[in-house]
């Protein structure tokens, strides 16, 4: 209510909000931690007047009226300050007396987060928990029919190939003739997907890169990470760690002049170049890094002046047809590193993926295709794009793979799947399912944020304020007061934990299948699902 007691159409009660703060007066010590930490100022100290009417039994005395004043934590109901359920208040509360609870019915706030005609924007991913990947089971347990393998003890070849693999005859011919053979990288099949510097904080970014470097250099796991579209810090470009890095170029071309100028200083080729055409979370929508996020550091890396908004258009300019988009762009990027670096496009999941793929199969420079499904994450997008736009990854990757099989090129052009991998925490199972559906590897972003940095975001619309620079975990904020909460070293350690445990889990899935010598790409006879329609659609076994 407004202070003069009036209501407006968007006047809400706590009951109308998606997240409701329960506060325990008895336990609270009024330490101020919760209000100090709340990212969105959803709570404040409130002054309460308590009234007690004292009446005596038998009404023998004249009743009296007593007021008391007390202080407590009050939740704001102004939509601009609505609680996002991050529970940071609970995290810092010494007495465990404050907690956000999810409303027991659809909230009313959703009808009002469009002040000034501005539709809701947020971070995170599609607000729909679960998905088909979690339902896929690994049903081929070949302990007797194949040599029994032990995931914990035996050696497994988990590496996958990124690059255009020529048919052997052609390859041999080219070797003989000393012709150009497309570059191919042997990489770990779990790739840290594009999260641009700018969308994520410097500490997060450094933590990811450090973890990846550690995995490569200390543990011999050829893990690679995409830079995202925000350019690449010069020090990384000039270091040997660049070979673990996939440089991404997107429609905004941020930082690419800096990268080009650094080419003479670059001592190691990058792992690959990823040309971003689309993102699963917000297909067909561009990006906008708001001016207030563009501090000196980001500006330096992106090669722009600080304090200006940086739009990435929904489409690449100067490309007017699929042939052009694919051919022109791939060719240019191949040329930049003397045709020594694999170059592949990344698109959002779409029914038109097959058309793109068909095009790529005819282009000898295309090193693969990455498809990002509807469950992909983002740092900022319109809610409507996130919730309703895009194609599920499973059938999209399956169609592409089966199409490759049809033209006999399934071993020549690798597919990479992303978008919601590990959404419910089942990273290895989801990855294995996608691999068996035909992916050569998977890309993860949100999972890494959650597992390596403690991101609080969820598909029940918790937190998800990555777009406003107030990330309570310091993952997606450029404010040192927030991102210094995140220690890059600890992020790196968690990255290592994630990959090591993924490695074991993936082997736990592969071992009973009797596969140890190569990734079971497209090994769809090993998977099943208890949904008949899905089984038919994916051309896998229906099991009940």
């Amino acid at each position: 209510m407004s202070s003069d007691g009036r209501i407006a159409p968007s006047t809400l009660s706590v009951k109308d909000l998606p997240w409701q703060i329960h506060w325990d007066k008895d336990k609270c010590t009024l330490c101020g931690h919760c209000t100090a930490v709340c990212p969105v100022h959803a709570i404040e100290l409130g002054v309460y007047r308590k009234r007690v009417v004292k009446t005596s039994v038998g009404l023998k005395e004249t009743p009296s009226n007593v007021y008391q004043v007390y202080h407590g934590i009050r939740q704001k109901t102004d939509p601009a300050y609505s609680c996002v359920g991050c529970a940071m208040c609970n995290l810092v509360c010494p007495n465990d007396c404050i907690m956000p609870y999810r409303s027991d019915e659809a909230d009313k706030l959703r009808y009002h987060i469009n002040r000034g005609g501005q539709p809701r924007r947020r971070g995170g991913r599609r607000n729909v928990p679960g998905g088909i990947l979690d339902q896929i089971k690994f049903i081929r347990i070949s302990m007797l029919t194949d040599p029994a393998l032990d995931a914990g003890r035996h050696e497994f070849e988990l590496r996958t190939l990124l690059g255009r693999i020529l048919p052997p005859e052609e390859n041999l011919k080219l070797v003989r003739e000393e012709g150009w053979i497309p570059p191919v990288r042997e990489i770990y099949p779990l790739i840290i997907g594009a999260m641009s510097f700018g969308a994520v904080s410097p500490n997060m970014w450094e933590g990811l890169q450090m973890g990846v470097a550690y995995l490569n250099e200390e543990l011999g796991m050829p893990v690679c990470v995409s830079t995202g579209e925000g350019g690449c810090p010069p020090r990384l470009l000039r270091s040997r760690f660049l070979k673990y890095v996939i440089l991404q170029i997107a429609s905004g071309y941020f930082g690419w002049d800096e990268i080009i100028r650094d080419i003479p200083e670059i001592k190691e080729d990058p792992c690959a170049i990823e040309i971003k055409y689309g993102q699963g979370a917000k297909p067909g929508d561009g990006g906008l890094l708001m001016w207030h996020k563009v501090d000196k550091l980001i500006a330096a890396i992106r090669g722009v002046p600080p304090g200006v908004s940086l739009p990435s258009p929904p489409t690449h300019q100067t490309k007017y047809s699929i042939e052009e988009s694919v051919a022109k762009m791939i060719q240019s990027m191949c040329m930049a590193w003397g045709f020594r670096v694999p170059v592949y496009p990344k698109i959002s999941g779409t029914t038109t993926a097959l058309a793109v793929l068909n095009n790529l199969t005819r282009n000898p420079y295309a090193a693969g295709l990455a498809i990002d499904g509807e469950d992909g994450g983002t740092g900022a997008a319109y809610n409507v794009s996130m919730n309703h736009m895009g194609h599920p990854i499973a059938s999209n990757i399956r169609d592409c793979y089966l199409n490759l099989v049809k033209v006999g090129k399934q071993n020549e052009i690798p597919l990479f799947a992303g978008g919601g991998v590990g959404k419910s925490g089942n990273l290895a199972a989801n990855a294995a399912a996608l691999i068996m559906l035909g992916a050569s590897g998977v890309q993860v972003g949100k999972y890494i944020m959650q597992a390596a940095a403690g991101c609080l975001g969820s598909e029940s619309d918790r937190c998800n304020i990555c777009n406003i620079g107030l990330c309570p975990k310091g993952i997606t904020s450029q404010d040192p007061r927030l991102y210094r909460r995140l220690d890059p070293e600890l992020v790196a350690e968690r990255v290592v934990d994630v990959f090591l445990s993924f490695d074991t889990e993936l082997k736990k899935i592969m071992a009973p299948l009797g596969r140890s010598t190569s990734l079971p790409i497209g090994m769809s006879d090993a998977i099943g699902i208890n949904d008949k329609a899905a089984a038919e659609r994916l051309e896998i076994r229906y099991v009940v």
Binding site: S3, C31, Y67, V69, L219, P234, A300, R484, E489, V496
Partner: protein, 776 residues
């Protein structure tokens, strides 16, 4: 009885190979029959020589010729000794529980798999997965596997106990006698080996030095082994201590510690070394990026509290056109300085009692924050009435600057009053006999006791000696004033009645004329009076008409009557009727004829639809619009030397006229001082910052100004209540005395965590929590 001579059991009968089952039955039968020295001619039968328990503790010797099948000696008993005179197939001694098994040749895969007791001696090389899953049951001696040559791949997988000795003599692969990837999952036991290897599972096993007692054991048992396989000839070749190595399983404790470089070390020795100090961004920023806690102080706070005392205007002051700081007066009273509170009023108005106490609709009270919670507003009328005794402050000496004021009504007196307080001479000209404008001439006596007006006018006269009454100024006079004075202020009010252009208009009496007469107790009204125009002036006319003897009073208006407040109540109290919408068509002998044809009977018709100033005497340099003088925000007319205020500019309340006078005086003072005139740029405090919860909502009436003062929330001005000091969880706030009763609340940034509790608790809305300065 025991039969010492050997007993032949052929594996073939009548040219046909016996089934494994049949051969097993025959062997068991023979042993049961006391035959303990058996010779078997084998034809690939499975599991020969195991489970010979029928002999009890007696030893059983089994010599196998031909080619035994898989799992020879499997589940062997401790009494059994098996000698295979040829190479052996897979799984020799599988699940061996004590038998001694000698193979005079090579053995294929799986030798000793799951063996728990007994000994297996192989005179050649061994296939893959030998010595896997072996155990050592502490009740018995550990099992032993001896291989003269090499072992195949995946040797000793999951080995949990026992001793394996691999002599590496004439090995199948002399470059690697332990095969590919041995010891995976090994958790117990020891492996002696002699010769090169290509690695083993370091996670599970480790090399240890061969100690003296190990060597002693090895040499002793090596001799036995070679004897068993008839190769004692090479004992010298094999007993060179330096050729032997020993592998043991790592304990679970050792396995826990993965020999990995710590991330801290990696960061320092690898990461920063390659990238340079400061890591990835060390070249681009000098910002400290080291980890910090979630709850922070100083520059790391996200928000900081700001003590915004008196930064914003309270609603009362803001809504008072005179700009009376009502809350300051209540504060003075709370502080026991009632006299000061009373005197303070004179700095703002020459008529604190007349206006605040009686004639003002008290806009301050209407806006009072307390009203927003249905609580009684501060009763400023009480304070106003008490101001009758306000003492004039010592007036400053004159600056020599002079202003002529045309019109001695509230507006004119206000500007003169203010100018004089600033030391400028103010000369007032009025055409009437008395000062005070409408206050003295038309506002009905019922509204205010005359002695109040008189008393306040006397106070005015004492401050303003130069008042020229009965001077109606002409245009020429005005031109002269411009020459004689620095500024001229027009405050002539609005006295020209607006006349309706209807037939019979000459029958209509203007309200002002009527009131002016009634105030002198002159003039007459008929029994029925109709008043055209139902505003507050109309209401005053109605009550006065009633006082003068009218019995039926009707107020008509063309839309909903705008009358409000005391005037309206008084009119209603005398039984006046309000009619609307009514459009007057004509005024006749009968009364007022409306456009509808209806006639409201009237003996007297008075018009109260507002007045206009008489602006004929103004020079052409002063622009007017619709009869009123056009001014800017400082009440300056289009002639910069001439100001205009009060009803001459816009019809309003007394407080509007007084406020205009005050503002005009400020502007003139600024200009005289050579400055640009300044307005008040302060914002009104947001009601939501004020906390009414500290006050009793059931208190609806205030007995005296003291009680009243206690209930003023003091919106925007610190009450010095100490709540912020008390609520701050960090104890970060203290009161700093600045001398002269001035103080401020200061925050210790070393302690403050930016929780905003101070802002949340402050009753007056002084604290504001603002975003901290950006760090980048």
């Amino acid at each position: 009885m025991e039969h010492r001579e050997s007993h032949w059991i052929p594996g073939k009968e009548e040219g046909r190979r016996l089934e494994s089952r049949v051969l097993e039955e025959r062997i068991q039968q023979a042993v049961g029959n006391g035959r303990h020295f058996l010779k078997v001619k084998a034809y690939g039968q499975h599991g020969i020589g195991g489970r010979l328990w029928r002999a009890g503790t007696d030893p059983v010797y089994l010599e196998i010729h031909g080619s035994p099948g898989q799992r020879v000696g499997s589940m062997g008993f401790p009494n059994t000794r098996i000698e295979i005179m040829a190479p052996a197939s897979d799984d020799v001694g599988w699940l061996n529980a004590g038998a001694e098994i000698i193979v005079h040749g090579h053995a294929t895969n799986g030798v000793a798999n799951a063996m728990a007791q007994g000994k297996i001696y192989i005179a050649g090389n061994v296939g893959a997965r030998a010595m896997t899953m072996t155990k050592h049951n502490p009740r018995f001696d550990p099992p032993e596997l001896w291989a003269l040559g090499s072992v195949g791949d995946y040797f000793a997988e999951f080995m949990a106990g026992g001793i394996a000795v691999v002599c590496g003599y004439e090995a199948q692969d002399p470059a690697n006698i332990l095969g590919y990837h041995p010891c995976v999952g090994m958790v117990g036991g020891r492996i002696f080996f002699r010769g090169p290897h290509k690695g083993f599972s370091h996670v599970d096993a480790r090399l240890v030095p061969v100690e003296d007692q190990d060597w002693e054991w090895l040499v002793k048992n090596l001799r036995v082994f070679l004897e068993k396989i008839d190769r004692s000839d090479i004992i010298g070749q094999l007993s060179l201590r330096e050729q032997w190595q020993l592998l043991v399983a790592r304990s679970h404790l050792e396995k826990g510690i993965k020999p990995r470089r710590s991330m801290a070390a990696f960061r320092q020795d690898v990461w920063a070394k390659e990238l340079g100090t400061g890591g990835l961004f060390g070249d681009l920023t000098t910002l400290d990026r080291n980890p910090i806690p979630v709850i922070t102080t100083r520059e790391l706070r996200r928000f900081v509290p700001v003590w915004e005392n008196r930064k914003s205007v309270p609603p009362c002051e803001a809504s008072c056109p005179t700009g009376m700081p009502v809350h300051e007066r209540w504060r003075l009273i709370r502080e026991g300085r009632v006299d000061e509170a009373v005197d303070m009023a004179l700095a703002y108005t020459p008529f604190p009692a007349t206006v605040c106490g009686y004639l003002c609709p008290n806009l301050c009270m209407q806006a009072c924050t307390r009203q927003t919670a249905n609580m009684a507003p501060m009763d400023v009328k009480q304070l106003g009435k008490a101001s009758l005794d306000a003492k004039l402050p010592q007036l400053p000496s004159l600056t020599g600057k002079r202003t002529a004021i045309v019109g001695g009504g509230p507006a004119g007196i206000s500007v003169a009053w203010q100018l004089r307080q600033k030391g400028h001479e103010a000369v007032v000209f009025d055409m009437e006999k008395t000062l005070g404008g409408k206050i003295t001439s038309v506002i009905p006596k019922s509204r205010i006791p005359e002695e109040i007006i008189r008393s306040e006018l006397e106070r005015v006269r004492s401050a303003l000696p130069h008042v020229h009454l009965q001077q109606r100024l002409s245009r020429e006079d005005l031109e002269q004033l411009k020459v004689d004075y620095d500024f001229v202020v027009i405050a002539v009010g609005a006295h020209k009645p607006r006349i309706l252009p209807v037939p019979g208009k000459e029958r209509i009496i203007p309200a002002i004329d009527f009131l002016r007469q009634s105030k002198q107790d002159q003039g007459k009204v008929g029994r029925r009076v109709v008043i055209i125009g139902a505003g507050n002036v109309g209401c005053d006319v109605a009550t006065e008409a009633h006082r003068m003897g009218a019995e039926e009073v009707t107020l008509i208006h063309y839309r909903r009557p705008p009358a409000s407040g005391e005037e309206k109540e008084a009119a209603k109290a005398i039984g006046a009727k309000f009619c609307w919408p009514c459009f007057t068509k004509a005024v006749t002998e009968e009364g007022v004829e409306l456009t509808t044809g209806e006639v409201i009977p009237a003996d007297t018709v008075i018009i109260a639809t507002g007045h206009q100033p008489d602006v004929d005497f103004l020079p052409e340099t002063v622009t007017t619009e619709r009869g009123f003088i056009v001014v800017n925000e400082f009440y300056q007319t289009t002639d910069p030397q001439i100001f205009a205020i009060g009803d001459a500019v816009k019809l309003g309340f007394l407080t509007d006229a007084i406020g205009a006078g005050r503002k005009a005086a400020h502007a003139i003072n600024d200009i005289l001082a050579g400055k640009e005139p300044r307005g008040d740029t302060r914002q009104v405090i947001d009601y939501s910052r004020v906390k009414l919860e500290y006050f009793d909502p059931r208190l609806m009436r205030f007995d005296d100004i003291q009680e009243c003062a206690e209930q003023c929330t003091s919106c925007g001005t610190c009450r010095d209540c100490g709540i912020c000091i008390a609520i701050c969880p960090q104890g970060a706030i203290r009161k700093k005395e600045n001398g002269n009763e001035d103080f401020e609340m200061v925050v210790d940034p070393d302690k403050c965590i930016g929780c905003g509790f101070c802002a949340g608790a402050c009753p007056c809305g002084i604290w504001n929590l603002v975003e901290n300065e950006p760090l980048v």
